[in-house]
Symmetry: C2
Subunit: 225 residues, 2 copies
Amino acid sequence: MPMDKIKIIEVKESVFAKNELAADNLRAELNGKGTLLINVMASPGAGKTTLLKATIKALKDEMKIAVLEADIDSDVDAYRIQEAGAESVQLHTGGMCHLTAEMTRQGLEGFGDKHYDLIFLENVGNLVCPAEFDTGAQINVMLLSTPEGDDKPLKYPLMFQVSKAMVVTKCDVMDLFDFRLDAATKAAKMRNPDIKVMPVSAKTGEGLDAWFDYLRAEVARVKKA
Amino acid sequence: MPMDKIKIIEVKESVFAKNELAADNLRAELNGKGTLLINVMASPGAGKTTLLKATIKALKDEMKIAVLEADIDSDVDAYRIQEAGAESVQLHTGGMCHLTAEMTRQGLEGFGDKHYDLIFLENVGNLVCPAEFDTGAQINVMLLSTPEGDDKPLKYPLMFQVSKAMVVTKCDVMDLFDFRLDAATKAAKMRNPDIKVMPVSAKTGEGLDAWFDYLRAEVARVKKA
């Protein structure tokens, strides 16, 4: 390349709280109860709530599902989830960009003593901060929507590194946005070689069965443990 | 609505640094030099770099433009900017989700003593944290891409409140995503009644002239001051 070398300046600062212990404790409790908590992370508008609605509709007769909605200051998603037929609690972060394990615990207390097989934690729409804080969930799942582009694993490495699965949403418009599934998969696996990649479209239904099967297997695993 | 009232739990914590003074100082310096610094914010994949490339190509013969690229850990955007014909410095945030005025100053020092009429600061892709920190830029501009949905001003209020302009990107696919420009505009104006809304498509060129004229006027204003 005939271009000049780019000047790179490193700026480091630490704002990461130590919440690993709280997260481990919460995880142990959830395992004890046989409840799977999945921390769902993505950019704003990647389709988290839409995927969760489709999931609730498909699985609500075979397992007890609830959703803990985290938002800075609105409750539109909690109502959308309730319309789909699952219980939901809205967690307001008061401007915070992420959830800690303690915030997650406070949110879960909103469900009282009821038992759930599967609880989704819909994290704040953000590819950076939520990845830095262990919420206490047994599994992190991230959604990457095809309009965002296939280069995101290069730019938000930690999100892909900490996620057990990457659900590629809005697959029906993949071609329109020149989104290369193979390139995205390769880049994500550079961050986490074991990441499971599931392309879906909540609009057309494509790929949803694989996602549902994934959830069934993970729920069964927590129950058996 | 026959639904149960959603349970809402407020969780507050403060991680916001006091950097207003540093920002005011940087802004005063920039005004003194006749350089307009625009802080460009958006979700990941909203099209920040693509819009900047189109802008550089269109305006580079009438004004001196540079771009300060902020990324967590990559430099792909800085190279894309350089290919478009503007100087760029890559700022690595080391995992940080936002830029402070001090980080911005360190980045600007990378350009040395050269004079620029217009410098874009491409902030980290994130609708939450960057809005909380004054970078010292004279103007904040946010990009909302149509695939993200028209409800984003409801969910990320501060971003819309602190932005002087909202550029609605990927307008060529607005209909495909049921994006209602009037709804997005109305919601954004609830946060900031004076926000200027500019729909564009870097792909088709639609709306770009209005964006360029906006930049010309703002650059002229800083020069005159």
